[in-house]
Symmetry: C2
Subunit: 338 residues, 2 copies
């Protein structure tokens, strides 16, 4: 059993720096594209045999962790908000905007509503010799999809609800946080050895808005998981001005995107906490010597300190050359030997 | 002549904090929408009488500066790349991706190719009793539109060119920077009393990429303008980790978005430089007492220091209620009396 990833989460010594990638099972892999030609995203997620197959695909690249194939929006359907995944516009759903809408949202029991995710996890644990990561979306990120009815560039409706109707906002965040908490716990009970909270769009907020409108909800989730002694990775993008507040909110590991040098971010959240990151995903489109130069710079910033998990600053992009992902895994392992 | 804005640019004392808004002439105003029902964006820009009319529309709100109605992509057409403004997808253009493409780009003479902008400026100077701001896009932001062929979320092609073919990248940046420099100078010669460089997407880059691939080009532009003793506002979004590098690159005034508290950003670029910002544009959708609370917080962070220009952290959003924009102008003026 390769436990580098879990050891790094806990800040323990490792033989070399562990590496995995957000969206490591995805469209950049030919095998994945073949399956997606036959099945929809939802079919893949909801059929444990297929989700397991997809989860396993990137493991031959030598990554040090697997992440269950799933989607942060899956809990919304059983909560009462069906999500339609359109080809070009991303997810589309009936927006939640008033107290009545929030009241109607169901606090689900993941054992019932999301059992397919848990079943994938149970199967995977029997097959894997690397640790398995479960995950869920952060409540702000989920709330933004719900309030906007899909993706947004401006977050106008989300911010309007947050500022103009704080009671509704907090009621929504409370329900989402409880669902996320339950979902993460259920994944841990099913066998996930670490979990990641993807609060991908949180960097949209100013530090004050984050502290006033989001932090307490995320804290409840993270604190509850940390009590179980299971590592939890707290991830967002564009978070350079939120790092101290996010660290205070919780997380065994903090995810850093590429906008902040790894050592600067690490210093700001405290060296006693672990960090994950932080290569710009677009770097993988460059020639190999450039990729390696940039990866080296990150490893040098980490200076072989315990508690660094190598990753990109955000998910692998769909057209990324698979050969470069493979080469990067090898490079990180080789050049970070202790 | 109301010269609060120019005095604040120069860090001189003012009777109250000047305020203007990026996109203060835009779709949030009924008068603007009426004109846009009759004319395309390009027709408005290219017909000085109409551009002047649009520029003047927001002045009755009491803002302390006018900004000529124009678009950062206008120089691309005479450079040899026609831009089609589609309704939903934003600007669409033939992408520039190889050395030949770059070689074909023309370094324009703005007196010939962009005379309509200059003519708008000449007319406006006769009519205005507030200072007039000219502007251009930053070379990185323009390059991203050129390389991607329009808007992008991922900047994959832009970064690939930057990393994989640095000679082509720098050749492209050099041409764009020279055009931008000429365009800003021509606007100043025509009467613009300050200029703003909109490098709106620069926050996509890590500090190292900014320094290696962008800073020297922007420096040439800004340095050339500063020699004329005309204030230049250096603006980007998501720039929290770039502020020191951007300050070093140049600018009389630095624009701050809402992700960083104004005083923190100001301290980092140095108190001897002026700052512009930094209310989250979505705040204008909140009830008035919340807008005023947030505006107050910014004014308190600025602490009536000389050198603060009140603005949003990015452009006014299309559905913003005009009454709130008006109320905000009054509020900033009243509550910042010296």
């Amino acid at each position: 059993m390769n436990d580098r990833f879990l050891r790094a989460c806990r800040g323990e010594s490792v033989d070399c720096t562990p590496v995995w990638f957000m969206r490591q099972a995805g469209r950049y892999m030919a095998e994945y594209r073949e399956l997606r030609a036959k099945y929809s995203m939802l079919e893949l997620c909801k059929t444990p045999e297929l989700a397991v197959q997809v989860t396993l695909q990137p493991l031959r690249l030598g990554v040090d962790a697997a992440i269950v194939f799933s989607d942060i929006l899956l809990p919304l359907e059983p909560m009462g908000v069906p999500v339609h995944f359109s080809k070009n516009d991303g997810p589309v759903l009936e927006p939640i905007r008033c107290q009545n809408d929030v009241d109607r949202l169901r606090i689900i029991d993941p054992q019932e509503s999301l059992d397919y995710v848990l079943e994938s996890i149970r199967i995977l644990r029997r097959e894997l010799n690397v640790p398995l990561i479960g995950f869920a979306g952060g409540p702000f990120t989920l709330a933004s999809y719900l309030v906007e009815g899909g993706r947004t560039n401006t977050f106008v409706r989300t911010r309007r609800l947050m500022l103009a109707e704080p009671h509704i906002w907090h009621a929504l965040m409370e329900k989402l946080s409880e669902v996320v908490r339950r979902h993460l716990r259920a994944q841990i009970d099913a066998g996930a050895q670490a979990v990641q909270l993807f609060d991908s769009w949180i960097g949209q907020l100013s530090p004050d808005d984050y502290t006033d409108s989001v932090a307490s909800h995320v804290h409840k989730i993270l604190h509850n998981i940390e009590m179980l002694d299971v590592p939890v990775i707290h991830f967002g993008t564009g978070t350079s001005t939120l790092l101290e507040a996010m660290a205070k909110t919780g997380g065994t590991v903090l995810g850093l995107d590429w906008r902040i040098p790894l050592d600067q971010g690490w210093r700001r959240i405290g060296w006693n906490r672990s960090v994950q990151g932080n290569l710009d995903p677009t770097t993988l489109f460059a020639p190999r010597h450039i990729i390696q130069q940039r990866a080296s710079a990150i490893l040098q910033a980490a200076a072989n300190r315990n508690g660094h998990i190598f990753n990109l600053g955000h998910g692998i992009l769909p057209e990324t050359p698979e050969t470069e992902v493979q080469a990067l895994v090898d490079f990180v392992h080789q050049s970070s030997q202790r």
